[in-house]
């Protein structure tokens, strides 16, 4: 048995959209099978995972809240992945953005400081994430160190940094020894868009990021530069685009957006620093970016879809006693299905029954 691949020359946009949808359905079927193997009803699980969150206004808000950080991070990653650069350390950039931004919140705690606190926090969040992202980029451009491994290693370092801070110098002295910082002042809290709602301004940032990115990738020379760098790196050099500058730029952008996601989440959603401030948004965003086919609008949709699995996962844990790890497993399956669907768009794949050889 062997696989035969014939390149397709006429892959249309419709086919690509269809492929994403097909990948999603396939992933659901596989996950349903796994749930059935675990002795639960896949139908009940589908109800809890998908239908219930979508029919409840509170869950719909929660959906946007969860989608926000993933959309922001995935938008940033799309810059890297388009240029064929592999930043897989967004989780760390998210954490450092949150830490650096929170530093202002903690410094001004109880000072009744002015309106400038929040913008400064956001700015420092972006800078923190960008700087953390620039470390692997710099190591790559200056010394040729593989960015995949370094960006990933820095995630652990970032998480340990956060852990040290909330257990050590930044621990709330009145917090009964819990490893957490003080609760942020109102001046340091990202407000909800609607008075009584849960959706904070991070969602607006995500929407802006989507729109700006759509323009940059579709209409500007910089966008073309990324596409060219990813599709034909030698042609990019021939066009006069420095690959080093491109590398630094995309890591700064994706790190910055991850940092913005981090500080938005902490100041708009959690309200304080804790040892864990992310259920793996930085890693899940990789799936989101691929599922959205590195297209800004696609990523927006994909982030909402994946957010659904997070919310569904939480309620399934309570209602069906399905472990939370199922959500992560599902995301892995989903990413695999997306990659396989990608291949099926590029190649006509045929299973030939012939032993030996290729």
């Amino acid at each position: 048995m062997r696989f035969e691949l014939t390149p397709r020359t006429n892959a249309s946009t419709m086919m690509r959209v269809f492929a994403s949808v097909a990948a999603f359905i396939t992933a659901f079927l596989i996950a349903g099978f796994v749930i059935w193997l675990m002795g639960r009803s896949p139908i009940a699980a589908f109800d809890v995972y998908v239908l219930q969150p979508l029919s409840d206004p509170w869950s719909l808000q929660e959906l946007i809240v969860k989608a926000t950080p993933m959309a922001l991070i995935a938008i940033g990653l799309s810059y890297c992945f388009r240029a064929n650069l592999w930043n897989i350390g967004a989780e760390g950039q998210y954490v450092i953005g949150a830490v650096l931004g929170s530093w202002i919140a903690l410094k001004t705690h109880g000072m009744d400081a002015g309106f400038w606190v929040l913008p400064l926090m956001l700015l420092l969040g972006i800078i923190g994430g960008a700087l953390w992202g620039l470390i692997p980029a710099f190591l790559k451009t200056r010394f040729g160190v593989n960015e995949i491994l370094t960006s990933l290693m820095l995630v652990y370092v970032a998480q340990l940094t956060l852990d040290y801070l909330v257990r050590g110098p930044w621990r709330d002295p009145k917090g009964f020894n819990f490893p957490q910082s003080v609760t942020f002042d109102p001046a340091a809290t990202l407000p909800p868009i609607l008075e009584a709602g849960r959706v904070h301004y991070g969602a607006v940032f995500a929407a802006i990021a989507v729109l700006v990115t759509a323009v940059i990738l579709g209409r500007t020379l910089f966008g073309y530069r990324l596409k060219l760098t990813g599709d034909a790196p030698r042609a990019a050099r021939f066009a006069g685009f420095s690959s080093k500058a491109t590398t630094l730029a995309v890591f700064a952008i994706s790190g910055g957006l991850a940092g913005l996601a981090g500080i938005s989440e902490v100041s708009g959603q959690i309200g304080q620093l804790q040892p864990s401030i992310s259920p793996g948004y930085g890693f899940t965003a990789i799936t989101v970016a691929f599922l959205g086919r590195l297209n800004p609008i696609g990523i927006l949709v994909a982030s909402l879809v994946v957010a659904l699995t997070f919310i569904g996962g939480e309620s399934a844990q309570i209602m069906l006693k399905l472990p939370l790890d199922l959500t992560q497993a599902f995301q892995g399956i989903l990413l695999m299905c997306v990659l396989a669907a990608d291949a099926m768009v590029s190649y006509r794949i045929r299973l030939a029954a012939r032993g030996g050889g290729q």
Partner: protein, 305 residues
Amino acid sequence: MTTFEAILLTIVTASTPLLIAALGELVTERSGVLNLGVEGMMAMGAACSFAAAVTFDSTLLGVAAGMMAGALMAALFALLVLGFAANQTGSGLALTILGLGLSGLIGAPFVGARRDPIAPVDIPGLSDIPVVGRLFFEQDLFVYASLALTILVAIYLVKTRSGLTLRSIGENHTSANALGLPVRQVRFWAILFGGACAGLAGAYLALVYTRFWSPGMTAGRGWIALALVVFAAWRPAWVLVGAYIFGAATVLQLHAQAAQFGVPSQVLSAVPYLATIIALLLLSIRHGRAIGAPGSLGVPFVPDR
């Protein structure tokens, strides 16, 4: 046993899973395939081996289950990158995410269970030599197996016919295909071997190193194994050296934490990760770009027929 001897012994224990996983990945990469899913395969190996060992009360079955789990995960990866010519980086990441999630599911019922230590195998006579005797000749079977594996992989790659074929395919799959070498078949087995090794490394973690299961217990060891392959410039002997250096770093930072030097424990915990970055950096500074990397590493192969 003196404290010093005890430390040395734990270094061997900490290094062994890194060595086994990195050797497997080395063979996969020498065939031209980059499998970033080591962490996921290792986690699956750990969960499945522990589950099987507890269920059947058999270390042997546990080990077998761990290797099977790693190989099965690798087969999934092979389907994607060989069957569908999918992007290897993305597929490897997907494998990691899936492995971490799935291992959590499989391991969940076994949280809290413990296994008894495995009796070391004493090589009579040799183990009586002071210090080195106990260090090298009174270890568990895995340690001997990992050292044997290093030698076997080295011999396989350099001395055997099949090893030559594998290296050729990794070097240039277009030429290999033109000569009629079975590119995808060889890669399939190399990927499977890498998966089985990662699974075995996971089994070692769960059955010997910690003797319990907890989610996320691989703690980045799979990624360190990947870095070791780069660090070793794709040579088995250097993987051995690298694994022991990293094992030592891990153990020493643990002892430093216990000794309470006044350095925050998190700083010490970060040592293995920082050491990986620094090792990769030093290597790049000395040699320029990834020296020794197989020519076709990470490039999807689509046979033209």
